[in-house]
């Protein structure tokens, strides 16, 4: 019977009958304060949509850096400090993936809206979300004091890390091992004013780095930003440095702290054509090789990655306990022992997790290999530019470059007299 007692550790039997009061004692009732009313979630979506619309209007019609800056303060205050960084579009990526793979999790409408709205806007206007609405971007945008120019080759290479992070975040969300993006949100400690030391340090690190390398999280980490980059490439309208025409004055050349201004191209020498064609063929082959390599590596590391899954960790501890290597059971093992779950069911679950990680690891590896291969191919295809232009993928729609363009001054002056403006 001792076994039964210990098995019932917290799930106690009801040992004592309900009291029979003789006085007119009234039992208090248990209060259950409700969560935040659902209508506020809709308000959040409304604010997001309004902020996105306003950002697009400010950047395309008003061409106002000040307006964007003011809006970014508002977003920082509202989505950051007021809403404590939850819900945010960056993190909603995890919710979307989770809902795709876990049928018991129905995606809340707010999460869906936070995920989709910025992408929709990016398809029309470019990354206006990054410029003025994202609280993570806004907090970094205010410490861009001494931006160093990061050479394009370094920037492109470092962005591979973000792709890897995206693959890992999607993998972890898909197998139910957690939402990495939310877990390692660097500024969440500021927003919540909580005392999580590692996260405070991470946030300060990113802000400190951000003084010299503008918006490091957005450029080299943010997985959601990668989605917006692709949408930005396709976007219907693009942010233009000049309101009307580029006069090739080169004054905006160093205006962008994010290195997103691209100079006009010179014609590529005709003599290079055959070599380039051969290279393209080679790189297309390499793309396949990289995808294969990525899949293989993904499979190789899947067991290591799976160690981050709670079920696998539980199984590891239970195995230690079974082997007599754990004399005092951890809370996890204790919880397992009183839960009445069988060892077999745990092994089955663990095996299932490993299997999911194996397939997920392969898929994630192939994906990262694909990205690396496509990057190489991209570098071998030449786009023709005649003007100084904002890089469609990299432009964060902050509006800093406007002030550098002499045409902007003329346009601003002309606006008072009512002459035309351009989209």
């Amino acid at each position: 019977m001792g076994l039964i007692l210990s098995a019932a550790a917290v799930q106690a039997a009801q040992r004592f009958p309900p009291p029979q009061f003789e006085t007119d004692y009234q039992m208090p009732t248990l209060t259950t304060p409700p969560p935040r009313a659902a209508v506020w979630e809709l308000v959040d979506v409304g604010v997001l949509a309004a902020a996105l619309g306003l950002a697009a209007w400010l950047i395309f019609r008003k061409r106002s850096r000040h307006g964007i800056a003011a809006l970014s303060i508002f977003s920082l205050l509202y989505f950051g400090f007021w809403r404590k960084g939850c819900i945010c579009s960056v993190g909603s990526l995890g919710n979307v993936v989770l809902s795709l793979f876990d049928s018991s999790y129905v995606l809340p409408l707010t999460a869906a809206a936070f995920f989709l709205l910025p992408i929709l806007f990016a398809l029309f206007f470019g990354r206006v979300f990054c410029g003025a609405v994202c609280p993570l971007g806004a907090i970094q945008d205010w410490v861009v004091f001494r931006p160093l120019a990061v050479p394009a080759w370094l920037e492109t290479t470092f962005r591979l890390g973000a792709w890897l992070y995206l693959a890992a975040a999607v993998l972890f969300a898909a197998v139910g091992a957690g939402l990495l993006i939310c877990r390692y949100d660097p500024f969440i400690a500021f927003f919540r004013l909580g005392f999580n030391t590692p996260l405070w340090l991470l946030g300060l690190l990113f802000l400190g780095l951000g003084v010299f390398i503008a918006r490091p999280y957005c450029r080299f980490v943010c997985p959601y930003g990668l989605l917006l980059r692709q949408a930005g490439r396709l976007s219907f309208w693009h942010v233009r440095i000049t309101p009307d025409e580029c006069i090739q004055c080169r004054l905006c050349e160093d205006a962008c702290p994010f290195g997103a201004i691209q100079p006009p191209t010179a014609p590529w020498p005709e003599s290079m054509r055959p070599a380039e064609r051969r290279r393209l063929v080679f790189l297309s082959g390499l793309l396949l090789v990289l995808m294969g390599l990525g899949g293989w590596l993904g499979y190789r590391v899947h067991a290591g990655l799976a160690a981050g899954h709670p079920t696998v960790e539980l199984a590891r501890q239970v195995r230690l306990r079974q082997a007599g290597l754990m004399t005092e059971p951890t809370d996890t093992v204790r919880a397992f022992e009183v839960s009445g779950r069988t060892l077999q069911s745990l092994w089955n679950q663990e095996a299932a997790v490993f299997q999911r990680f194996a397939w997920g690891g392969i898929a994630a590896g192939i994906f990262v290999g694909f990205v690396a291969g496509v990057k190489l191919i991209q570098m071998s295809i030449h786009f023709k530019r005649t003007d100084y232009e904002a890089d469609r993928a990299g432009c964060l729609a902050c509006g800093r470059c406007f002030a550098f363009c002499p045409r902007q001054r003329i346009w601003e002056a002309g606006k008072q007299t009512g002459s035309g403006e351009k989209q």
């Binding site: 550790a9 917290v10 799930q11 106690a12 009801q14 040992r15 004592f16 009958p17 309900p18 009291p19 009061f21 003789e22 006085t23 004692y25 039992m27 208090p28 248990l30 259950t32 304060p33 409700p34 969560p35 935040r36 659902a38 979630e41 404590k84 939850c86 819900i87 995890g94 919710n95 999790y105 129905v106 995606l107 809340p108 409408l109 707010t110 869906a112 989709l116 929709l120 398809l123 939402l179 939310c182 877990r183 969440i188 919540r192 909580g194 999580n196 949408a231 396709l234 976007s235 219907f236 054509r273 709670p310 951890t330 809370d331 996890t332 204790r334 919880a335 009183v338 839960s339 023709k384």
Partner: protein, 188 residues
């Protein structure tokens, strides 16, 4: 051999427009898919009291410095014992309210005499840190009427619950916001 630049440009243009349309269609499809599942609900975190083992991590791992988890008391389950093992430290010298006899590290449980032989125990939530010591005490020798719950007037409803990540019994689960508590009830 090489297509004229204008043709190249228009081909690229065509490709881009195609991709744009596809992306927009995908986004539209996503919106439609969501609209069709319009029963989509909001989720909040809650502790399943029947899984909880009272390990005490709720007190230390919440992103809030004073945890959103508090002990609650299902009065209908309570035995109103004089010797409450959720209130007193094991083998108390005397059944008195002094700090030296109490299990609760913050003295958040109030003990009040009702009538012979019954005492009422209420939780002062402003003091409770959600450590679960009383929960374990009550379950070990009592009716298990004290248990931990996430209080939704405090919970920030993080996308990934920081306590849930470290909960040894995976007792922190998503529940619909329409029924945000998992309360214990007396088995008559």
């Amino acid at each position: 051999m090489n297509p004229p630049p204008s043709e190249l440009l228009s081909r690229r243009r065509f490709l881009k427009d195609g991709l744009w349309t596809v992306s927009l269609a995908a986004a539209g499809a996503a919106v439609a898919a969501l609209a069709s599942r319009s029963r989509a609900k909001e989720w909040v975190w809650q502790i399943d009291p029947y899984k909880c083992i009272g390990c005490g991590r709720c007190a230390t791992h919440c992103v809030l410095s004073e945890s959103a988890v508090k002990c609650v008391h299902a009065f209908e389950m309570c035995g109103y014992c004089d010797l409450c093992t959720g209130y007193f430290s094991p083998d108390p010298k005397a059944l008195q309210t002094g700090a030296e006899h109490q299990l609760c590290p913050t003295g958040a449980i109030r003990r009040r005499f009702i009538e012979e032989p019954y005492f009422e125990f209420t939780i002062d939530e402003s003091r409770c840190i959600g450590c679960g010591k009383c929960v374990v005490g009550c379950a070990a020798f009592g009716n298990g009427s004290l248990f931990l719950q996430i209080r939704h007037d405090r919970c920030l409803n993080c996308n990934e619950c920081a306590i849930g990540r470290v909960c040894p019994s995976e007792a922190i689960v998503r529940v619909p916001a329409s029924s945000p508590y998992l309360l214990k009830v007396r088995n008559p």
